[in-house]
């Protein structure tokens, strides 16, 4: 699972949405580490730093992490987790989860670095390729 440099983490307000993104994109390359985190403890809509942190802890600590988020506070919460874990290499992408995630899974699967994967996700998705 962790042969590549970069794992992807999807943070959504809804668990099914994050998990759906993971399921869809894992298909593009089963060897890239893809993780999902969605909703609150009680299944309600929202994002929680505790849950994002728990998902992060499932990822090998040597692996870089590119985070995709859906809307609003998902980014703010992801940023808080990023600041709490300065020892890790975590970057947040503003690309749309699915379109950007699709590009990311392909480039991460080719062994690209975190910065390259982020750049490709943000620049590549709009080309409809």
């Amino acid at each position: 699972m962790e042969e590549n440099n970069v794992a992807l983490l999807f943070v959504s307000h809804v668990e099914a949405l994050a998990e759906g993104a993971r399921e869809l994109l894992q298909q593009a390359n089963p060897d890239v580490g893809i993780y999902s985190c969605g909703g609150l403890e009680d299944g309600e809509i929202g994002t929680s730093i505790d849950r994002i942190e728990a998902s992060l802890n499932k990822i090998d600590s040597e692996t870089d992490v590119l985070v995709f988020y859906d809307i609003g506070s998902a980014k703010m919460n992801a940023e808080m987790v990023q600041e709490m874990h300065e020892e890790r290499n975590i970057v947040i992408s503003d690309a749309p989860m699915i379109e950007g995630g699709y590009v990311a899974v392909i480039t991460a699967g080719l062994g690209a670095s975190l910065e390259e994967v982020k750049r490709d996700a943000e620049e590549g998705y709009s080309k409809g390729e």
Binding site: I45, G46, S48, S73, N77
Partner: protein, 204 residues
């Protein structure tokens, strides 16, 4: 304010937010996702539940606990924003057991800085910062004037109605966002009004 008054403030705020839960969510329906009341209620309820466990904490540590609880439990954008504000106040009040005017001033200006950083926002964007910022400025050295502080919070809240919202979902509406009072500004007003109520009750 000492640690006991802080706890009283938090309890009263929680009760107030739960009383106004539906009102806050209704306000949030106009430009947001309509969950601000439920979110704030959930967060402050968790704070009140924590108060018994946090019995022996210093004022500074109590504020930090309140902050991390709000971050974890609130759910919406208000969680990281309120949470950061309380954590920054806690950090500013290290070693202080009785907050006076200048400590309030220092604590709240750190909180305002934290909200601005976290939300990448500034005053005039139609957010809770438009309440926190004038409140921070209303504290001066010496004994705080709680009437002034409450009125600064009220004016700040009211002013968000005329603002073009620059943050959150409301920002997508541009000029059409004018005419809606910001729910985060309203919950912040309740927070500071309950602070004033708590402190005025202590003076009698």
């Amino acid at each position: 304010m000492n640690v006991e008054q802080a706890k009283q403030w938090l309890r009263q705020t929680s009760a107030r937010l739960s009383e106004h839960k539906d009102e806050l969510s209704t306000l949030d329906h106009a430009l947001g996702d309509g969950d601000h009341g439920v979110n704030m209620h959930r967060g402050f309820q968790a704070v009140v539940e924590g108060l018994d466990e946090w019995e022996d904490l210093s004022l500074s540590s109590l504020m930090q606990k309140v902050g991390s609880t709000l971050v974890s439990k609130v759910g919406g954008a208000a969680g990281p924003l309120y949470g950061t504000a309380f954590m920054r106040m806690g950090a500013a009040w290290k070693g202080i057991e009785q907050v006076n005017g200048s400590a309030w001033s220092e604590g709240l200006s750190k909180a305002v800085e934290g909200i601005a950083q976290r939300g990448k926002t500034s005053t005039g964007d139609g957010t809770l910062l438009d309440v926190w910022s004038p409140v921070a400025e209303a504290f001066t050295e010496g004994e705080p004037s709680w009437d002034n502080i409450e009125s600064a919070a009220y004016k700040g809240m009211e002013a968000t109605e005329e603002m073009v919202v620059k943050k959150g979902r409301g920002a997508l509406l541009g000029e059409q966002s004018v005419g809606h009072i910001d729910p985060g500004a309203v919950s912040s007003y309740y927070l500071f009004q309950e602070l004033a109520n708590t402190m005025k009750a202590g003076e009698q």
